[in-house]
Symmetry: C2
Subunit: 144 residues, 2 copies
């Protein structure tokens, strides 16, 4: 049984999921500047990675790893950014973000001030790969 | 044998380390706004978590976990932020950052625009715990 907190937007997740099991979900983030941005969202309302029992912690770590692999395979980024912040929504989730030299913030983190506008054609090309990313993620998680 | 890249500031790490073995180092970051900010720096010059063989990946994950525990124990943050970015220095390292409602950027990530000035007395009190944090980290890593 998972712990749910009323009013927590990740306990009441409404976004479409690419992977969904009793422990975690994987979603694609709809961010105009970052096609391929994805998240692993733990189902239980826990705050920190270190709140998890070991088996769950390793399961979550494996999920973030698999997601990173799928993002690298399909999005071919220059760098991957992986982060668990949760200051706004203190419900455990991991961001996996493909980064490119021409993205809006590079080399700063995506949470810094934007440094440029990525050409529409470049973003459109990346956006076209998102369905393929969804398939690659589903395959990665089906093979466990 | 570790791989070194000339000119990489993390291959040529000069900061004092709290933990130092053949696989990784743990350092305390000298950030005026974030006493207790710490990093795990992988020794080999690899770019992404997913570039590591499984045993190393799990070892690094365990190191980040131990560091998070020590930071929580001593710094008693409201939230911990954990991130592997590496856009500026593409040499695998993890940030572990204790966050508080009154810190310079909360609830935004520390890489966003600052939102306030934390009172000096508050920062001084947190800074005083840093030696204790170093001891707690050393203990955590000695017990493996």
């Amino acid at each position: 049984m998972t712990t749910r907190v009323a009013g927590c937007e990740l306990c009441e997740l409404s976004a479409p999921t690419v992977v969904d099991n009793d422990k975690f979900a994987v979603i694609l983030v709809d961010d105009a500047n970052y096609p391929g941005f994805a998240r692993v969202i733990w189902k239980d309302h826990v705050c920190e990675v270190s709140d998890l029992p070991e088996a769950d912690r390793l399961l979550l770590n494996d999920a973030v790893y698999k997601l990173e692999l799928a993002v690298r395979d399909v999005m071919q980024p220059l760098k991957v950014n992986v982060a668990s912040l949760g200051n706004v929504v203190p419900h455990l989730h991991w961001h996996v973000i493909p980064r490119y030299a021409d993205d809006a913030h590079f080399p700063a983190p995506v949470w810094a001030q934007a440094q440029r506008t990525t050409p529409d054609a470049v973003l459109a090309e990346r956006r076209q790969r998102v369905p393929q990313l969804a398939e690659a993620i589903a395959r990665r998680f089906a093979s466990r």
